[in-house]
């Protein structure tokens, strides 16, 4: 590693930063309902999720040999500046949605960023739109619906079977079950998402000539990617945990168990079948199904709508920011520095705004929504304002 260029170093740091936001953005997926039903204490839940995300990073490195799974044309060799721009867009979108307490897909943010940066940096031909439709858009629509239907049915069955016995003893059992189902989601998440960061760093090192073509990720890359996602997870995106755990529906232990089981099953089945879907959307869909299938059958449709808008916006918004970043970063080292400073300023200001109304382990179960003034973040859109 005698001469890692400025740009390569920046890309590696930014990739780890994205991995970190990926972690805290997605803690909610596995743990929101377990925290909401009291199956796990908030701090314990994020600790378990962090450990399992770290462990998951070591389970497999098979996906780490590709960044995009064929969404953009990697054969020509992705320029580090394009990867950097993609990461910037993905991080900023992740932070903005976290600030609003909205669970959006970190994978979609990354894909959107890659698409935007590639279109600007390499032209529209660099993006395989067929793959975008078949591997991202269709699973994005189908997977939350499948998880929702499965979770709805499972909730109905759970109530049907245990309906005649005292709630107290069966709820205890379902809470215990939730510990396992949410742990399985955490493990699968670590495997899937930490590998994306490993892939980014590995391919950047290959393009810089530090590694040979076809090499797997070096150990320090696996360890640092696992560490970054675990640390992020332990930070616990409490704003999103609150939205998912109590913002969509009032979740009781049988519903929590049903939705987590449905989510875990859909994630494992579809990643086995080769669909790269969003853990976030699957888990949210599961919670919605469980809310509708529960005793009250109620869902807070306002929150459902806000989530759906966010999901629709994630790809284009991240693409727009990344496209802009690619335009500037392409100008050379000073351009990269400008984008880097913009990223730090943007991230810092969103963190400062979040301090005005902090959500943490102690108040995560208190109320259902995060109300913040519209911040006009990097994308300046207001459609998801409460």
């Amino acid at each position: 590693m005698e001469h890692i260029t400025f740009l390569v170093a920046v890309v590696i740091i930014t990739a780890l930063a994205f991995d970190f936001t990926n972690g805290f953005h997605d803690t909610a997926n596995a743990m929101a309902t377990s925290i909401a039903t009291g199956a796990l204490k908030p701090k314990v839940a994020v600790a378990i999720a962090a450990v399992l995300n770290f462990a998951g990073a070591f389970l497999s490195v098979k996906v780490a040999t590709t960044i995009s799974g064929g969404i953009v044309n990697e054969k020509a060799g992705l320029q580090p500046s394009i990867i950097f721009a993609a990461l910037v867009g993905a991080i900023l979108w992740n932070l903005l949605t976290w600030l609003k307490g909205l669970p959006s897909s970190s994978s979609h943010a990354l894909y959107g960023g890659l698409i935007g940066a590639t279109v600007v940096g390499a032209g529209i031909g660099g993006v395989n739109f067929t793959t975008v439709v078949s591997k991202i858009l269709i699973p994005a629509v189908a997977s939350p619906i499948i998880a929702g239907v499965a979770s709805w049915g499972a909730t109905k069955i759970a109530y049907l079977i245990t309906g005649g016995t005292p709630k107290k003893s069966t709820e205890k059992g379902f809470r215990r079950g939730q510990i396992f189902s949410s742990s399985l989601i955490s493990l699968a998440h670590g495997t899937n998402d930490a590998q994306k960061t490993m892939g980014i760093i590995t391919l950047t090192l290959i393009s810089a000539g530090q590694l040979h073509k076809g090499d797997g990720p070096p150990t320090w890359v696996i360890v640092s990617a696992g560490m970054a996602i675990a640390l992020g997870t332990y930070m616990g995106g409490w704003r999103i945990i609150r939205s998912m755990g109590s913002g969509l529906a009032d979740i009781r232990p049988p519903q929590g168990f049903a939705s987590e089981t449905a989510a875990a099953t859909v994630i494992l089945t579809s990643s086995h079948m080769g669909y790269g879907l969003s853990t976030t959307q699957v888990c949210s869909g599961g919670i919605m199904g469980a809310g509708l299938g529960g005793p009250s059958g109620k869902l807070r449709w306002g929150m459902v709508r806000r989530m759906a808008y966010t999901w629709g916006l994630t790809l284009p918004a991240a693409a727009a920011v990344s496209g802009l970043a690619a335009l500037i970063a392409d100008q050379g080292d000073w351009g990269v520095a400008v984008v880097g400073v913009a990223l730090v300023l943007g991230a810092g200001s969103m963190w400062l705004i979040s301090r005005r109304q902090p959500v943490h382990a102690d108040n995560v179960n208190d109320s259902e929504t995060v109300d913040l003034p519209v911040t006009g973040g990097p994308t300046g859109q207001t459609t998801i304002a409460a």
Binding site: L59, S151, T191, A264
Partner: protein
Amino acid sequence: MHIKWAALAETAGVSLAITLAVVTVFALGNLALSRREAAVEAGTGKGTPALVAAGLCFAACAAAVAYGISLIAAK
């Protein structure tokens, strides 16, 4: 554009079936366990058959989880 609808439908069907099966078995185990508690509390027996049934149900769920983990690791 070629989209593999059959694979998509298969994924959906398998997911649905596994979810329903696991939750059904877990709920039955849960039911058996609370029946046993009730029997012990009422003093009508030790509820051993119910305990065995619950054990079988939870073992089946554990097997499903183990299979899930093996799927992650084998990728």
